[in-house]
Symmetry: C2
Amino acid sequence: MSQPLSELPRADLESFRDTQQAAYDDLVASGLKLDLTRGKPSAEQLDLSDGLLTLPTTTTTPDGVDARNYGGLAGVTALREMFAELLGLEVAQLSAQGTSSLTLMKDVLTYLWLKGGVDSERPWGAEEKVRFVCPVPGYDRHFTLLEWFGIEMVPVAMTDTGPDADAIAALVADDPTIKGMWLVPTYANPTGQVTSQEVAERLASMPTAAPDFKIFWDNAYALHHLSAEETKSADIVSLAAVAGNPHRPVLFASTSKITYAGAGVAFVGGSRETITWFHDNLGLGSIGPDKVNHLRHLEFFGSPDGVREHMAKHRDLLAPKFAEVERILTERLGGLGVASWSQPRGGYFVSLDVMPGTATRVIELAKSAGVALTPAGSAFPYRNDPEDTNIRLAPSFPTLAEVTGAMEAVATCVLLAAAEHLLA
Amino acid sequence: MSQPLSELPRADLESFRDTQQAAYDDLVASGLKLDLTRGKPSAEQLDLSDGLLTLPTTTTTPDGVDARNYGGLAGVTALREMFAELLGLEVAQLSAQGTSSLTLMKDVLTYLWLKGGVDSERPWGAEEKVRFVCPVPGYDRHFTLLEWFGIEMVPVAMTDTGPDADAIAALVADDPTIKGMWLVPTYANPTGQVTSQEVAERLASMPTAAPDFKIFWDNAYALHHLSAEETKSADIVSLAAVAGNPHRPVLFASTSKITYAGAGVAFVGGSRETITWFHDNLGLGSIGPDKVNHLRHLEFFGSPDGVREHMAKHRDLLAPKFAEVERILTERLGGLGVASWSQPRGGYFVSLDVMPGTATRVIELAKSAGVALTPAGSAFPYRNDPEDTNIRLAPSFPTLAEVTGAMEAVATCVLLAAAEHLLA
């Protein structure tokens, strides 16, 4: 069958609903226990980095520092050099820190809030109101972090080439309360789009009423390709410098999905002045990051190409899972007019848009059948998906067989919810 | 000679000054390059923990969690159990995090500033003024952190049994702007005193005008004994609970001076509610600490007694250096009325009080002779030592021979500065 459900005669739709209900009842009876909620690497992916466990073999950095002791606020230089090359930055534009880029995002927001940035007239916390542009669907933790600060969120749509730059340019041109925006530029969470050079240039150069407008450029998936086609991220730091807004971007990246999710190395990048500003504020509460872990990673990778080769091993484990999601969605939902979904070329997610008004129901049905999905609305500010349509699927952590089982269940839930909705 | 310099006839004093000047000139000519500035462990101390480099041998925690992946905001439970026992806390009263307790102090202050504590009427940042009691001499990084927040510092003297509790009780009783105090309770930085049970009880129970008064109990040297006499820290969390002020203390500790200064594990402790509050705020910017490093430490120590045995090895390396400082100060300065100094039974510092008005000069002289000392006033809020008398000596990092050379030089500088001062 490949006729849109909405075009079925009511009797056929009722029959379809009954078929799906029966399939769903079977699912519930089968006692599944599956989880597609979080973008976590699988145990097999983590195994790829177990060489870390007996590294480093030397505790002296290439520039002669004892990594075991205090000091070196910017991180081990040689590791910064390696990732500066991978991220398209100069070494002075990159700081290597602890295990979590999310922590660095919170740190940067805290310093902006309490002190203001290099180009701020006053601390953000001293402003009447601070607002942020949030491309949607987006990353839930970005949004909850802004909520914690009391920063108001203004949603803007994602397009195939990144966030809607026209809409953003119009918003920021006249409104000085809009101080920044989030962006996952490469293989966006959850929609998978890559921000084009043109959109990046526009964001870097657009006039902003706030003199200290920041692009939080969360390049979490810069190297996380799902095919041999390795999309290059736009060079936002250079684009902004050329446009005369050198301090606008703050770049974030980490090895959380390269080595160990809980024990990698996170990076913050930007203009030299931004990095100096970051260190000046960081230094009040740090005598330096875990340089032994920096050396551990340096030795494990050996070179930037070592990182790329390592990512190919991740790809070999991840690509079949994404292919399975695509296969099941196509086979089960294709042509029925009940859903559309992303076909990401990298990253960790598939964004599934079900029939408007049914996402909450699909997630409830799945939960009752033992399949955990990210809560409805998670990818939107204030957890408010105005169309109740978006579901983020994260197929990395389960085994391939579990992905199959979970996605077959999800498809049944999507179909049942759609039929219910059309019959209501 | 053991007559106070101040009692010497002027001609004798001039002769003494000339002798010291000649000795000092010899020092300068000898081209020393020595450093007594920071409380860093020596390479030999760090070597004691090199077993960490090939650990952990398993990446599964005792409670079955894959330490390599995301999650577990409170840290690895078994490591929390180990250090809860060492620090006299319940497991639920202790969180294990990243490498730096200083970072945790900044985090806690940030959360108090932006959100307020469990017992706050409003965020500290919304108060007209926030002040902190600072026992002096104290730890420079505590003071610069408060300066960063714009928190005003009120110095209070240290006594042989801890900070002057009468003075503190009087200050906090009526002034609601005084929101907290620093304290290094065991082997204080830099003066070495241990806060007695009685003083701790007084601080825990004293009425405070601020309902959310906090004791930042930085127990950095809880286990860092310099003799077989292992002073037990006061149990501030229990004392505060009994006194009806359960959320008053926030405890900090780390393995920075147990394993690796730059790659250890840091802890924050307090009431269950305080720890829950900490995690609630931490979780906005963290998906969990480096659990692999937690496992690494867990396996390395094996048990709380393993930590104690490890600390005895540090003691064997450190005690001779402290003895050498004491020997030279006694032999060179004893009886001359130009200096007094602490005789710490633990910790990382000797606090040297030179003739009032000469500390800056001593440090300048030492610097010109190639011996780096902590800048004058460092141990005081706003770097203001009102008597210009205090110098913090940190003998841990240099070799024993270097400690000898540096302390002989310091003694000469102290004597020269004193003679100059008396002759001026």
